[in-house]
C-alpha cells in the first residue's frame, strides 16, 4: 500500500511547489488596502490543497504549518481578519518555510524543526491577536459576530480534523443567514464575487448542512477539471524523446529526397512531389515538437517581484519593477539556468544602480526607481534586458579597480571597452561586502553562465541616467545555426555565432612568427589555428592560400581556422557525444547530416582556450 502511495509523491511535490509559487505571486499582487476576495480565495485554496495532500501522504510538518496558515487565510478571506503589509510579509515568510519543508521531504533531509516552530508561533501569535483586531473593525457588526463564532470554532477545529473547521464556518454562515435577511444578502454578495464555477457549491452549503460535503467536493472537482483542460503534465523525458525521434524523421526524409532525385521519368516526378509534401510535414512536426520544449519566460520572471520587494525594503530604496514580454517563449533548459544570472543582475541594478530616494530627488529624479525586466524575440534570438534608471556604472571606479587587479586599463578607453571589465574574475566594485553583493557569484560567473547557454551579454550605461544589460540567447539549446566545412575527408560544423567572416588569403597576407602563422587583414594579425592537426584529420589542405580561412571569435579571442572548403549553412540538431562516449576536446557535440553521417560541431571557445598559450607566448616573445 505504502508503495502505491509513494508513486504519487513526485506529483504531490510538483503540485505543492506550484501552489506555493501561486501563493507567492498572489501575495505579491495583493492590494493591502482593499484585498480582492478572489485573490484571497485563491491563496486559501492553494494552502488548502497543500494541506490536503500532506495529510494523505503523512507529511505532518507540512500539514501543521499549512493548517495554521490556512486558519489565518480563512479569516482573511471571510473579512474577519484585516491583512496589512506586515501580515503579507509574515505570509511570504511562511511560504518560504513551506518551501524548505517541502524540499526537506523531497530530498528526505531532516526537517528544519526550529524554523517550523518559530514559523508556527509567529502565525499563531498573529492569529491570537485576532479578536482584538476584529473588534476594532466595528463598522460591520455582522462581521464582528462572525468573527466571534469563527474563533470559537477554530479552537475546536484545531483539535479535530481540519476539514471540520472548514465546514463549520459554512455552517456558521448558514445559521447566520437564517437569523436575518440582511446577513443573508451579504452572504450571497460575497459568494458571487467568486469564480463563476464556484458559485454553485457555496450556495448549496448555505442551504443546508447535509449538502455541505457534496458541495465542497464539487467545487474541488470543478477546479481540477478546469486546470486539466488547459494543460497536461508530461514527463520532460518524453518530450526529449519525441524531439529526438522527429530529428530522425527529418534525416530519413532528407535521405529519401536524395534517393528521389535519382529516379527519373513520370514516376520520379510523382515521387518528388510526394517527398516535397513529406518535407513540409516533417518540418511542421519538428517545429511543433520543438515548441513543446518552450516555456514562457514568466516562469523565471515571476520570482522577481519578490526579489525586488525584499531587496528594496532591506536597502531602504524605492523600486518599481516592470516586467515586459513575459509571454516570450524560451527553451525549458534555459528557464532554470537563467535564474541565477538574472537574479544577480537584478540585485546589482537595485544595489548598485538605483540610488536612495533622497539622492534621487536631489538629482531631479522620481524618488522611486524603475527596473525593467524585458524579454523579446529578435530573429533567431531571445534578448533579455535588465534596465534601470539609476546612477549608471561608475567608470572611474571600474578603471581604478581594473588597474588594482592588474588588468590592462587606461583612462582614455572608450566606454564600450570599460564596461566589459566588470566581467573579469574577482571584479567587484562594491565598496563593502553585504549579503546582497559579494555573495560569491561575480559578474564573471554571470557571463560564464550566459556563454554556457550559447549567449552573450552587452552593457550600455550612462552616468546619472542608468544602465542596461542585454542578454542575447539562442531560441533553443537543441539546435544550432552553423556553417558546414570540409577539412580533409571530414565534415565539421562551425557555429554561426562564432564566425566573423571567411576569406581566401593571398600569400602576401601570411606572416610567420616562430612556428605559427599569422594572417594580416585590415591592420590586424589573426593567429591561424592548425585545426586539421587539432582534429587529427589526414589529407587536409595545409597551405592557407589553397583553402579558406574562417575567422572566429570566442569571447575576446580572435583567430582563424583553415578549412578546405565551405559546404553550406544549415541548422543542425545538437547531439551529445557524452551520452554514449565521452567529452572530446575542441568538440561541443555532434550532429547527423542529411545522409545519416555524423559530423562534429566545433567548440570555438575550447579551441581558443586550447591554443591560447601557444600563440600568446609566441606573440609576447
Amino acid at each position: 500500500m505504502s508503495i502505491d502511495i509513494e508513486q504519487f509523491h513526485g506529483v504531490f511535490f510538483e503540485e505543492s511547489q506550484e501552489h506555493l509559487d501561486t501563493m507567492e505571486q498572489l501575495l505579491m499582487a495583493l492590494n493591502v488596502q482593499s484585498p480582492d476576495h478572489e485573490q484571497l480565495n485563491s491563496i486559501f485554496r492553494a494552502a488548502h490543497s497543500i494541506k490536503g495532500g500532506s495529510g494523505i501522504f503523512g507529511f505532518s510538518a507540512l500539514g501543521e504549518v499549512t493548517h495554521v496558515l490556512e486558519n489565518l487565510l480563512d479569516k482573511a478571506r471571510t473579512g474577519t481578519f484585516h491583512i496589512d503589509t506586515s501580515t503579507v510579509d509574515l505570509l511570504l515568510e511562511t511560504v518560504d518555510i513551506l518551501k524548505q519543508i517541502l524540499d526537506a521531504y523531497r530530498d528526505q533531509d531532516p526537517l528544519p524543526e526550529t524554523l517550523i516552530e518559530t514559523g508556527k508561533k509567529k502565525l499563531e501569535h498573529v492569529l491570537a491577536g485576532q479578536p482584538a483586531a476584529a473588534q476594532q473593525d466595528s463598522e460591520k457588526p455582522d462581521d464582528d459576530d462572525f468573527g466571534f463564532f469563527d474563533d470559537e470554532d477554530y479552537v475546536s477545529a484545531n483539535a479535530d480534523t481540519d476539514d471540520f473547521g472548514f465546514f463549520d464556518t459554512e455552517t456558521e454562515s448558514a445559521q447566520a443567514s437564517n437569523a436575518g435577511a440582511e446577513p443573508n444578502n451579504n452572504e450571497f454578495g460575497f459568494f458571487n464575487t467568486q469564480k463563476t464555477n464556484q458559485v454553485e457549491a457555496p450556495r448549496g452549503v448555505s442551504d443546508s448542512d447535509s449538502t455541505a460535503p457534496k458541495g465542497t467536493a464539487n467545487s474541488v472537482n470543478n477546479n481540477a477539471s478546469h486546470k486539466s483542460s488547459s494543460s497536461i503534465r508530461v514527463n520532460t523525458g518524453k518530450i526529449d524523446a519525441l524531439v529526438n525521434q522527429v530529428g530522425e524523421l527529418v534525416i530519413t526524409q532528407s535521405m529519401l529526397s536524395l534517393i528521389g532525385e535519382q529516379i527519373e521519368g513520370a514516376l520520379g516526378e510523382k515521387l518528388q512531389s510526394a517527398i516535397a509534401e513529406l518535407q513540409r510535414n516533417t518540418r511542421e512536426i519538428q517545429e511543433s515538437a520543438m515548441s513543446m520544449r518552450m516555456l514562457p519566460i514568466n516562469m523565471t520572471f515571476n520570482r522577481f517581484p519578490r526579489v525586488v520587494r525584499d531587496l528594496a525594503s532591506r536597502l531602504a530604496k524605492k523600486v518599481e519593477l516592470k516586467i515586459e514580454g513575459g509571454a516570450t517563449e524560451i527553451d525549458k533548459c534555459m528557464i532554470e539556468k537563467l535564474v541565477d544570472p538574472l537574479t544577480h543582475l537584478v540585485r546589482n541594478s537595485i544595489d548598485h544602480g538605483i540610488e536612495l530616494p533622497d539622492i534621487r530627488e536631489q538629482s531631479g529624479k522620481a524618488a522611486s526607481g524603475t527596473v525593467i525586466l524585458r524579454a523579446e524575440q529578435k530573429g533567431g534570438n531571445i534578448v533579455i534586458s535588465i534596465i534601470d534608471d539609476g546612477a549608471g556604472l561608475d567608470r572611474q571606479r571600474i578603471l581604478e579597480k581594473a588597474s588594482e587587479n592588474g588588468l590592462v586599463a587606461s583612462h582614455d578607453m572608450p566606454d564600450e571597452d570599460v564596461w566589459p571589465l566588470i566581467f573579469e574574475p574577482g571584479f567587484s566594485t562594491a565598496a563593502q561586502v553585504t549579503d546582497v553583493s559579494g555573495r560569491g557569484v561575480g559578474m564573471d560567473v554571470v557571463k560564464r553562465n550566459i556563454e554556457a547557454l550559447g549567449g552573450r551579454i552587452d552593457i550600455e550605461s550612462r552616468a546619472g541616467s542608468g544602465s542596461a544589460f542585454y542578454i542575447h540567447l539562442p531560441l533553443t539549446l537543441a539546435i544550432v545555426d552553423g556553417i558546414t566545412v570540409a577539412i580533409g575527408d571530414q565534415i565539421f560544423v562551425v557555429p554561426l555565432v562564432n564566425i566573423i567572416e571567411s576569406i581566401q588569403p593571398a600569400s602576401a597576407q601570411l606572416k610567420r612568427l616562430g612556428s605559427d602563422t599569422l594572417l594580416h587583414i585590415r591592420d590586424q594579425y589573426w593567429p591561424l589555428v592548425a585545426i586539421h592537426e587539432l582534429m587529427d584529420v589526414d589529407d587536409a589542405v595545409t597551405d592557407p592560400t589553397e583553402g579558406i580561412v574562417v575567422l572566429l571569435q570566442s569571447g575576446k579571442q580572435q583567430f582563424g581556422i583553415l578549412v578546405d572548403n565551405l559546404l553550406g549553412q544549415q541548422q543542425v540538431v545538437i547531439k551529445s557525444l557524452e551520452q554514449h562516449y565521452r567529452k572530446v576536446p575542441g568538440i561541443s557535440g555532434a550532429t547527423i547530416m542529411g545522409d545519416g553521417k555524423v559530423a562534429m560541431i566545433l567548440d570555438a571557445d575550447a579551441i581558443a582556450y586550447q591554443c591560447r598559450p601557444a600563440y600568446q607566448e609566441e606573440m609576447l616573445a
Binding site: N244, Q245, G247, E248, I251, A452, Q490, L534, M535, D536, V537, K575, S576, L577, E578, Q579, H580, Y581, R582, K583, V584, P585, G586, I587, A590, I592, G596, K597, V598, A599, M600
Partner: protein
C-alpha cells in the same frame, strides 16, 4: 547440497559467440542490442586507434571500437563480412567490431570453467570463463567489465561532472 539438487538449481545462460581472428569468444546475449554490418564511421579527434569513431544509430551517436586492434588478435580488415555488435552496457550503447558472429550458445553453470590466468589476449579481469562447444574452446567475455574499463577509456570516469 547434493549433486542432484545442484543440477536442479542450475540456470541456462545464453551467449552470443563471435570470432576474433582465429579465436572464438562469447558474450552474454542480454547485453546485445543488435548486430549489423560494418559501415564507415566518423573519426574522433585524438582518440586511440582502436576507437574507430562514431556512427549514427537511429539518432544516437555511438562509439565503435575494434577489439582486434585493442587486443592484437587477427588483422583489422573491413569488408562485407565485418560485423558490428551493438551492445547495451550500463545505459550506454557501444559497438564492437568483430570478424563474424557464429551462434547463440546455451550453457549450464557447470559447463563454464574458470578462466585461465594467462594465454588469452584479454586480461583475465574481463573474462567470465571458458567453455567447450563442439571441439572449440569458447572464451566467455565479461562485456560489462570490459566496456566500462579504464583501459578502453570509453567512459569519462573522473571528468563527467568536471568543468566544461
Amino acid at each position: 547440497m547434493s549433486a542432484a539438487e545442484q543440477t536442479h538449481f542450475q540456470t541456462k545462460n545464453e551467449f552470443l559467440s563471435f570470432v576474433l581472428g582465429e579465436e572464438h569468444y562469447a558474450l552474454d546475449i542480454s547485453a546485445v542490442k543488435e548486430i549489423r554490418g560494418y559501415e564507415p564511421v566518423t573519426k574522433i579527434a585524438n582518440a586511440p586507434d582502436f576507437i574507430k569513431g562514431v556512427l549514427n544509430l537511429r539518432g544516437d551517436i555511438v562509439p565503435i571500437i575494434d577489439l582486434r586492434i585493442k587486443f592484437n588478435v587477427g588483422a583489422p580488415v573491413y569488408n562485407e563480412f565485418t560485423i558490428v555488435i551493438m551492445l547495451n552496457v550500463l545505459d550506454r550503447i557501444v559497438g564492437i567490431v568483430v570478424d563474424g558472429v557464429s551462434d547463440v550458445i546455451r550453457l549450464n553453470d557447470d559447463e563454464i570453467r574458470p578462466p585461465p590466468e594467462f594465454g588469452v589476449a584479454f586480461d583475465s579481469r574481463y573474462l567470465q570463463g571458458l567453455a567447450s562447444v563442439e571441439e572449440n574452446m569458447v572464451i566467455l567475455v565479461n562485456i560489462e567489465h570490459l566496456i566500462s574499463s579504464s583501459e578502453l577509456g570509453l567512459f569519462d570516469t573522473h571528468n563527467q561532472t568536471g568543468d566544461l
